[in-house]
Structures are given as C-alpha cells and as structure tokens.
Point group: C2
Chain length 546, copies 2
C-alpha cells in the first residue's frame, strides 16, 4: 500500500482554495501510484476555524467541500479532516472528525475523543468527544486512524476518560495513521517526535503522521510530518514551514529498519526565524495584501522586524518610515539608514516634531505649567502611530508592530503608539532572543548594523533615556519572565531559585498591571509554548499579583 502524506497549507474558511489544493494533490498522487492520500485534521476548513463552527451554514459548506473532493477519489482513497454534526443529537453538536473516502463515497467516519482545551485550544467549546472507535479496512489492511490529541495521550489529562488507541489495538490493526493540526513552538518539535515514537513502539505498529503547515494569524503550523516504524524508529521527517507531499510504501516502512538517515534538527533561533517568515507571508497572502509598513527607529527590534519582513515579502514590498523626534540621536537615524541601504527596502523620513509641538501647544491651556513627563513621551510615540497608520491608510500598506515579548510583558510600550499594528511580528520573542535573531539574520552578511546590536536599548523619548533606567537588565528580566509566563511560577518560586526578590516582585507586578494594555495588542505570532494572546487569558481587573 502506497500512502501519500499531504502536508498542505490551508486557509481558514477558504473552501475554494482548500478543495482545489486537495484535488490537485489527489490527481498528482494518483499519477505517482499512491493508493491513499492523507490530509490533515480539519483540512477542509483550516485550523482553528473558531466560532465559524457555530454557524450551521459553515458546517454545511464543510460537508459540501469535502463531498466535492470525494468525487475526485476514483482509483485512489483519501482521508479528510472535517467537522460533522452529531446526528444522534439532532445535528445540534459537532464532532471533530475524518472521512475515509473510497470510490467517491464515504466508507468510514472517525471521530476525535480527546479534545484539547488549554492554551490556544478550545475544542470543548465546539466539539463533543467520541465514545466509540473502530478500525478501517483498506486493501486487506486494518488502519487505526486517530485525530491529533487521540495519539497524544502522555499528558495524562484527567478530562480524557478514554484512550482511543487502547480500544483500537484490540482489533489488531496493521498500521496507525494520525492526522493533526499541531502548532509550532520552539520546544514542540522534539516533544512531538518523542511522543509519537513512544506510541509507535508502545503499540508495535508503524505510524504515519500528517500535520498542517502554514500560519493562521497568530498560530503557526510547522508541518514536519513523520513516519515511524513499529519499533518507534523515525523513518521519515517531512519538510518544516513549507508544503510537502511524500509517498511511502507501507511494506518498506515495516520491513526496512533505519533506512532514513537521522536529520540534523534546526536550532531554536533558526526555527523561530523560519516560523516568523511563514507567519508574516501567510498573514499577507491570506488577507490579500502584499505590502508592509513599519517604523524604523535605529533600534534592534524594528531592525529585526524589517529584515524579516523583507525576507518574507521582498524588500520592494516593505516601506520603512524613519520618524526622528528631538530626542532621537544622530546615530539612530544613521543606523536606520544603514539598514535600509543594506536591505534595499523603500523608506521615508517623517520627523514628528511639528505634530508633537502642535499637541504641546494645544494642551498648554489645560496642562498649563505641569512638567514634562510620561504624557509627552507617549504623545511622541502616538504621533509616530498616526504617521504609520496614515501611510497604511493612504497606500494600503499593512502596519507591522515591532514590540518584543519583554516589553509586552512589563508594559514598556505606548498603547496606540508603538503598540499599533495589524500583526506583532516579534511579540513572542524575548529581547535576548531578538539579539540572537539579529545575529542569525547577519550570519551570511551584515544586514543589521553592528551598532544597532551593540548599543544600549533606548526608546529615545527623552534626553539620554535608556531602557535600563526603568527596567532590570534584559538578561535577568527575560529569565524572570520566562519562569513566570512560560513556567507559571509564582514570585516565591522564582525568588527561591536565587533571583533578587525586589526585581522579581517588581517584574511580576508590572506583568499584572500591563494586562489592560495587552488586551488591545495586535495579534502576536506565537513561537513559544506560552504566547500573549488567545493562549493566555487573564482577568484585567483582578488583584492577584503573583
């Protein structure tokens, strides 16, 4: 049996594109001799469709689109992930399901039992868990087909009362297939291989695993579909961050051990780099836009975002706007211009003094002689926001936000100012990781000026300002933030690890106080196991401080 694993980039709700891709893949795979094409979890509509699933019309369109794909299944079978109504409940509720299609007809239906409802996942919001399971017979083999989490049971989640594979194994299947929509984080790929390898070995069956690839706003699917033999040995690892279709002969997987050489895994920063490129390009392509605008300050955050945008969209599609204020240093403008020169994107220089002065003058009758403070700093940041949004409105550029995760965590940013944007490119990348990204971007040649990398970070909103005036050193700050945000440690836990109590308490206090700002942050490309946004849901008016 020849099995094609179709790792495709779907677009949520774009049935025309999704079905076209699947139909083309079916025909191409048939030509190459495949007997079965395996598409991913909820392939028909993309993942996650979120509250689209609450529209009866949407569920109908999913069924119609999958039906259209089915008509192309002549002399080739396929597996398609789709949501289906629970007919026993009068169609009121849904299963996260898969159709097995042969000869243009649905010959079997599989339903998901273990519904992830944590971090970015909300499956109990939409689906009910399957309660019965059965293998699928195809070409004389028994296939144990499961959907994503159903073969991801090491979490030992007490919500999961049944283990589908423990029931399926009683039917003595010949192979396992798992269809998934498993999002990228820089810690996830190693874990995925470990879990799936463990399950192949546990059930003593070869395993074919298909993941989605592509970005859906903040969530990035990395692909990396996998094949294991019955000992749990990794036999194939498909491409990361790009579409890939590969065909495998079942007999070869079962009988030829270790035919595939072990691949060198990419490092975390390289993976983050590639994930962000995909995140940017898919956001634009799927929204129907091609051009980006961003503010370029001469600092490292905007330099890295500019470089990433140029790689993702082409430098000809990126407009960098330099907006010096009276507190900007000469070297900032020079560093920004050096980057523009090295990278070849478009640029404009729009000094903001005139607008900042106008606000000073307008507010004078109200503010009278009150001293310069954060208010005037924020006015400058917000003038920049207006300029960037004006560029966006006038020319149809999409504004990229350049805030990093460290700033976003402690609220070191101005709402409606530097926190503007349609997409926060590095909002899940700590400042110390931004420096690593810059070095990675410069690996082959100097794109980001060395001065941008080595100078002390500053918002340049008042004379001689440095980030370190009001924040702990990023080396310390980022470690404290990681303990609290990713690992959910309390202040006491973190202090017990040897961090300074005052720094820890101040940092956690800032994180909590900034919740109201993060509520209005643009969507953030998720690359870590715990990003701000839909995967982290905090009360705004809550008093708890650690």
């Amino acid at each position: 049996m020849k099995i094609a694993l179709a790792q495709l980039n779907y677009h949520i709700g774009n049935f025309e594109t999704n079905t076209r891709k699947m139909i083309e893949c079916l025909h191409a795979s048939k030509e190459k001799g495949a007997d079965l094409v395996v598409f991913a979890e909820l392939a028909i509509c993309g993942y996650p469709p979120r509250d689209f699933l609450e529209s009866a019309a949407f569920i109908d369109l999913c069924r119609q689109a999958a039906g259209e794909v089915a008509t192309h299944c002549q002399d080739i079978a396929c597996i398609i992930g789709l949501p289906i109504p629970n007919e026993e409940a009068g169609g009121k509720d849904l299963f996260n399901a898969a159709w097995f299609i042969e000869n243009g007809q649905v010959s079997a239906v599989v339903r998901k039992a273990l519904l992830p409802t944590y971090d970015v996942f909300d499956e109990y919001r939409y689906f009910e868990p399957a309660r019965s399971f059965g293998c699928i017979e195809f070409m004389g083999k028994k296939i144990a087909l499961t959907i994503c989490e159903d073969l991801w049971n090491i979490n030992d989640n007490p919500l999961y009362v049944s283990n589908p594979m423990d029931e399926l194994i009683l039917e003595q299947p010949d192979l396992m297939i798992n269809i998934a929509a498993s999002p990228f984080s820089y810690t996830h790929d190693d874990e995925r291989i470990k879990v799936l390898s463990g399950n192949a070995a546990k059930y003593k069956l070869p395993l074919f695993y298909v993941n989605q690839v592509g970005a859906q706003t903040e969530i990035i699917f990395d692909g990396g579909s996998l094949v294991f033999d019955e000992s749990g040995a990794l036999k194939a690892e498909m491409k990361y961050f790009t579409e890939d279709v590969q065909i495998f002969e079942l007999d070869e997987i079962q009988n030829v051990r270790n035919k595939y050489p072990a691949q060198e895994r990419a490092g975390d920063i390289e993976q983050i780099h590639d994930a962000l490129l995909l995140g940017i390009s898919d956001y634009f392509r799927k929204s129907g836009f091609s051009k980006a605008v961003l503010g370029l300050s001469g600092g490292i955050d905007s330099a890295v975002v500019c470089a990433l945008a140029c790689r993702a969209l082409g430098p000809e599609n990126v407009m960098a706007v330099l907006m010096p204020s009276k507190y900007s240093t000469d070297h900032s403008l020079k560093d920004a211009l050096d980057l523009v020169g090295a990278i070849g994107c478009k640029h404009e220089v729009v000094p903001i003094k005139e607008a900042a002065d106008a606000f000073d003058s307008m507010m004078k009758p109200v503010f009278k002689d009150m001293p310069f403070n954060l208010t005037e700093e924020n006015i400058q940041a917000r003038c920049r926001g207006i300029v960037l949004m004006a560029m966006s409105n006038k020319f149809g550029y999409i504004l990229l936000n350049t805030s990093n995760k460290s700033e976003c965590a402690v609220g070191y940013g101005t709402l409606y100012g530097d926190m503007c944007g349609a997409l926060a490119v590095i909002g899940d990348v700590y400042k110390t990781q931004v420096f690593e990204l810059a070095r990675h971007i410069n690996k082959e040649r100097e794109i980001i000026p060395v001065n941008t990398i080595v100078k002390p970070p500053s918002a340049e909103l008042r004379p001689d300002q440095k980030d370190s005036d009001s924040l702990p050193d990023y080396g310390i700050l980022d470690q404290v933030l990681y303990q609290h945000i990713e690992l959910k440690k309390s202040a006491a836990d973190i202090v017990a690890q040897g961090f300074d109590a005052e720094v820890v308490n101040k940092t956690l206090r800032l994180v909590n106080l900034a919740e109201f700002k993060r509520y209005q942050t643009p969507p953030i490309l998720r690359v870590s196991p715990k990003a701000f946004g839909m995967g982290r849901r905090m009360p705004i008016v809550g008093k708890y401080m650690s």
Copy 2:
C-alpha cells in the same frame, strides 16, 4: 432551618476583600439567627478567575482564604465556592467545588459536573467534571447542593453525560441549594427563573439559589438570587445589580405558598442602564481609579456614555473633552455644552485643527497631491485619541470608549482614534438601543439635549458627512446584525426573512472585514447574549463571509 443567601460583590483575586466581606456577613447573619450562610460559586476568588487558576500559588491562596472564613463558622454553617485540586490526580487538576463548613471544619465537599464551555465560559479549560455525588446532612435535613450549570440542564448539552440532580434525588433530599455565577444579559433573567422554577417543580423540592453580583471587567453579574417552593412557585427574588443578604426559614418556604407577591420585572432598557452603571463603577472601584475622561462630540453615543459615567462615578469625577475639528458643526459644540451644563460634569475644549494641520504638513512630502480621503478623516479621529490619552496620562483619568455595537460590528470607527479607551461602555448596545437608553436617561428631566437625539448621526470628519452615506439605516442595520451576531444566522437565512439581499451581504461582509479592528477593541461591558469580546472568537485571517 434559617438560610441566609449572601449575594455579594467579589473582586477577582482580592482575597483580603472577599474574605472580609464573607466574615462580616457570617457574623451579621448569626446575629439575625441564621443557621447557614450560602455564598456563591467561586466566591472565594471571584468569577471568572481565568488563567489565575493555572497558578498553583493562586489555588493555595484560595484554600487558605476559605480556611480563614471557616474559622469564623462557630454556631453557624456556611457554603463557600472555591477551586480545589483533584487529589486523586496528584493535585494536578481542578474541580469547581464548594465546601460545606460546620464548627470551623469542612464537613462535606461538592464538585461541579456540568462545565459550561461556550460564549464567555471556559470551564473545561480549567476544571474536570465531577463523577460522583452525594447529599449533605445538616440539622436533620438532607441538602442537595449543586453548582450553577448542574441545575441548568435544560440545554441538553451532549457534553454533559451525567445529571447530578438525577443522582442526588435518589437520596430523597429535603431541599436544593444552588450556588451560581450567572452573568447578566437582558434576555437572561426571565430564562433563569423559568429554568430554576422548572427544576424545583420537577424534583418537587424547595430551591435556594444564590448568584454573584458585580462586574468583573466585561462580565456583569446581576444578582437576583431566588427562592422557589416545591411546586416551582417563586417565593423570593432578591435585589438586582446590588449586594443583598436575606434570611429565609425553610419551613415557611415549604408550607406557605405564594406568600411573596410577584414583582414587576424591569424592562430591557432599564436593566441595561443599571447593568452599565454597575459595569462602570465596579471597573473603576476594583482598579483603584475614580475619575473618567471621555470625548464629547455632541452626538448621541458620547452623550449617553457621559450621562452613564456621571451617574456611576458622580459628575465631579467625569471630564468631558470637546474636540471640534474644522468639519464640526456649530450645533455639535452647542449640544455638547448643553449636556455638560445639564449634567454638571467638568469639561475642556481642545480644538484639534493645529495637530491635524501639522500632520497634513508633515505628510505632504510623502502624500504630495493625493486627494483628501479616509486617511485624513482617520488622522482627525486619531488626533482626538491622542488628546484624550494625554488627559488620561497627565491627570490619571481613565478613558471611556463611546463606540456602540452597530459601529463596532461594521467597523465604522477608527482604530487608535475613537476606538481608544480602557472600557467600552456601550459596545454591546446597538445604535437603536442607544436612542432608547437616551430616552430612558431623560425620563425624569432632559439631560441629553433633544437635538442630540433627533439629529441624523454623523462622524463629522468631512463636510456634511452622515452615517447614512455609508451605512444602511440603523433600524434595518441593527435587525440584520442581531440576526447574524446574536442568532448566528447566515446571509441566506436573513434574506429569507425578507431583508434586502444587497444590504444583508454588504453588512455581513463588513462584519467579517472588521474582525481585525475588534481584536484591538477595549473590553466591552456585556449586556446581550452575544457581545463582541471574549464570548465571540473569530479568525482574523479567515475567508468565510457568512
């Protein structure tokens, strides 16, 4: 047995305040002869604590705080809602639970089985369902104690495999107690009485129901705790939108039918009015702020928000900023000043021409001779945003957003302009409802100028602009939006009801296109069964259009 129903206003994570309130209520109730005090679902920490529940330290604090309350239970018993770890699962997972406390000790623990995971609810994200149930013996009576949704089973949700009350009834209890955190919507109070009355009659038991009261950012609890006799007749209806503690004698509920006269229910608009006042005042009080700022345009939305803010916070704590542009009409400024005069709040006039001209001049080298368009309209709206945020930053005012639900739905608003604010007061109130609210506010005397109510709505961002230039009449628009947003109807469904196909398709297209804007909207006070925000989760980059 004398049962005190304690309908209190908790603050999420503020253990000091929450326990103090509960302890005071215990002592006061004991003095009045109560045998048992019933606090609400998750009373100890407030509802919804959201991802605070993922912190082990937070769960510890809940237990400690409830333990502190328990020490005050001498010669009086109480029921406290709190999250508890599942000890069988090694404490890794949680139950939404209640302690029954007698003589300072926990004498029984009840766990919730039916976990709402829809709209604003995420309980499967945090909790696992209870799987065993038992009545509580107290003063010779058997109490069937359940938590919120466990007595709300008419939804017939297939996720809910067990019905706790069907098991508890086998033990022949003498009464039912239900502790809840059931948020307000203007359709919900009638449904609540119907469901609970139905369950009292079904199980032939008197029912004591305690709800939370108070606002937790966007979610507003309306109180309205209830008592029913064993025939399902309503015997007591506690206050709405305010704290209330009442003591009931069980024997009187069981034996004296219809002692309590039926109350006149408040109309929808009156309820929305009261809910918004509570939403505003709790947001400020629980955040530790007292003063609000808002932009007052002379139009109806900002007039209504200004009036609500003055009622909630006192006119001396409200600053209205009038920001005329060159397109503002004279009557707008006059209408705004009339309102300020009628209501007695503070005001400032800050014309925005100077800043708008500065941006025109700054952008001129880039925009050259490109014609005035939406860009310049947005610049004006954003200049106003900067002025308001400057007032907020300089004086510590909290900015109230004045967008209505109709605008928010179709994206008729400027991101970082009129969409600024910490709290969207009427973001869940359709424009046609805003007019009704204005009339309700004017019931006793004219506060909102009649001209503000009768003139055609306009953003006044270009000469002679009217909302009706680019939007359908609000009477039609709001009906189409209600069908789509609240009732989840597709375009075809709505057209089949007789609405114009072009209007419907245009409206639904605008709703979908505005998803990226709504992602960055301030939190919206929820008063309808489907508000924008945490209860409506849509893909941003999704193509599906109805």
